[in-house]
């Protein structure tokens, strides 16, 4: 797997190193954390969308489940952060497992059903009747475990693990078989690919990444409300970044986050009055001229990107 090793050395390693040392060079740790979070989430979405073609609009539901899994573990069970992270990740996977029947749907139907499921989880979590467990709409405070630096570092570790998993997916037989499912599930079945199993594994991997990221997010910001953890904007960002860079590749979602989230923050600070205009124009331009993302500038010339 020489190509895989090359991807790790020239893509994964530099990104992880830069993310790890960034707080030493730049003081706005919350912004840096947001970058790390979206870098991870975009790859998690890539695992299911890029490789199997299923677009989970309600991806934030799994993220929120992870965040609340963490929060409840700390508040109710009194667990230390690392154990709570495991519970958060497990909550994401459990929700993913619960939603696997949705994989029977295709295209827009899956996307919509997935979004509805995320809304359902949000409604449950924010229900005042469950205040004793989730704190309902009043939000959670995890000040006793607040550790911005350590949680940032854990966030980078999760990013590293995610990128390694994606580098494997990009270069493995399993990953290629998943892409066959995306292209044509019937043909893939005739090629001997276990379509249902492949989709399920990709979706659960994606859910694991979102659950874990949500848990780290909860730890890092430590005070949040249901509408923060289940903000549909998180789904939209992860989707747009992945599409902007180019799905089914390792560097596509990375580029998407760095360019688009970079621009987002730059124009949001410098010329906020034109913010939506510029941002909207950028996305419209992408859809019109580069529907397969930035990497298609290379791939359409026959150049293989990591």
């Amino acid at each position: 797997m020489r190509r895989g090793l090359r991807d790790v050395l020239f893509v994964v390693l530099p990104v992880v190193i830069i993310a790890a040392v960034a707080p030493l060079l730049y003081a706005n740790e919350l912004l840096l954390f947001s970058f790390v979070m979206y870098l991870t989430l975009a790859q998690g979405l890539n695992a299911i969308y890029g490789f199997t073609g299923y677009l989970p609009f309600g991806y934030v539901g799994v993220f929120g489940a992870g965040a609340y899994g963490f929060a409840i573990s700390v508040m109710i069970l009194g667990l230390p952060p690392f154990a709570a992270l495991a519970i958060g990740a497990a909550a994401g996977v459990m929700l993913g497992l619960l939603l696997t029947p949705l994989l029977r749907l295709s295209g827009a139907y899956f996307a919509i059903a997935n979004l509805a499921a995320a809304q359902a989880v949000y409604q449950v979590v924010s229900n005042p009747a469950l205040q004793d467990i989730t704190k309902g709409p009043y939000g959670v405070s995890l000040s006793e475990v607040f550790a911005p630096r350590l949680s940032y570092e854990v966030g980078v570790a999760v990013l590293a693990a995610t990128l390694l998993a994606m580098a494997w997916l990009r270069n493995s037989r399993f990953g290629l078989s998943l892409q066959a499912i995306r292209e044509d599930p019937i043909s893939a079945a005739m090629a001997g690919v276990a379509v249902v199993r492949g989709r399920t594994i990709a979706w659960l991997l994606s859910a694991l990444i979102a659950g874990l990221t949500g848990a780290v997010f909860a730890w890092h910001i430590s005070v949040f409300y249901p509408e923060t953890a289940f903000d549909i904007g998180i789904s939209i960002f992860a989707t747009v970044f992945t599409l902007f860079g180019g799905a089914a590749t390792l560097i596509g979602p990375l580029l998407g986050v760095l360019v688009l989230y970079g621009v987002y923050n730059t124009i949001g600070i410098t010329v906020p009055q034109y913010f939506q205009l510029i941002y909207g124009a950028l996305i419209v331009g992408l859809v019109l001229f580069l529907p397969d993302g930035l990497v298609s500038l290379l791939t359409r010339r026959g150049i293989r990107v990591p």
Binding site: Q179, A180, D184, I186, V193
Partner: protein
């Protein structure tokens, strides 16, 4: 003594709502045999292939492959057990390369496709020059060939061929017919659905003529063309005497 059938289809029924697409079809195939399936559009030929290859469930009868009933087996399991097919409209993985298309089938199908085997297969089917190109960039004849390559990469014992000849030019037709005969000589059983009678005549050992989900004739193609029921179905009552 004829060899043990590889595939035995017995009184197979497939309904779509109130429509019986297959209405009690029975036949068998032995290794190395090429059986043609002919009939007018809508007579149930492709449905038959879809049921045998596991894409459709069935509503009655049985399909036995290598002595085992394959009821309820998913398509990918059947592909691994040795049943594969081509599609009337080829369905390659368009954004993947020709080589990747075949690799996926070799890895998942039976797991014994070495690099040399795949190179050999691509060369045999004249696809080696396109190995690095995206399947979507191939012309339709090449995509049909790639569909066949994808099926063959799983090393099938039974190959279901659905209108492979349509759209090929005469030279390609002759080559394709020769390829199929060669596969049969190697011991593979083939079920060939086709409208081109010249092709069927060249390739098959015997044919089944279907109409409205039933078989109306089984035997040599030459005899079929003299069968009054076959003539009635294809040409109308006036021609059948």
């Amino acid at each position: 003594m004829s060899p043990e059938p590889l595939l035995r289809v017995d009184r197979l029924v497939k309904r779509f709502g109130g429509f019986r697409a297959l209405d009690g079809v029975s036949f068998h195939l032995v290794p190395g045999e090429v059986l043609g399936l002919v009939g007018p559009n809508g007579s149930g030929k492709t449905t038959c292939i879809n049921v045998i290859s596991g894409l459709y469930g069935r509503d009655g009868g049985s399909v036995t492959f290598r002595g085992r009933d394959i009821a309820g087996s998913r398509a990918h399991m059947l592909a691994r057990r040795g049943i594969n097919r081509t599609f009337q409209s080829p369905r390659p993985f368009l954004s993947l390369t020709v080589r990747e298309n075949v690799e996926i089938a070799a890895w998942n199908g039976r797991g014994d496709g070495t690099k040399a085997d795949l190179d050999g297969l691509l060369e045999q089917l004249d696809l080696h020059r396109h190995a690095g190109r995206a399947a979507g960039d191939l012309n339709s004849a090449q995509q049909k060939t790639l569909d066949l390559a994808r099926a063959l990469a799983t090393a099938p014992k039974l190959l279901l061929v659905d209108e492979l000849a349509a759209g090929l030019n005469p030279a390609e037709l002759t080559r394709m017919a020769e390829r199929l005969r060669e596969l049969a000589r190697g011991g593979m059983a083939l079920l060939v659905v086709e409208h081109l009678m010249g092709f069927i005549d060249h390739v098959t050992d015997r044919v089944i003529v279907m109409n409205a989900g039933r078989e109306i004739f089984e035997g040599k193609l030459g005899e079929a063309t003299r069968d009054p029921e076959v003539i009635r179905v294809f040409l109308g009552t006036a021609h059948a005497r």
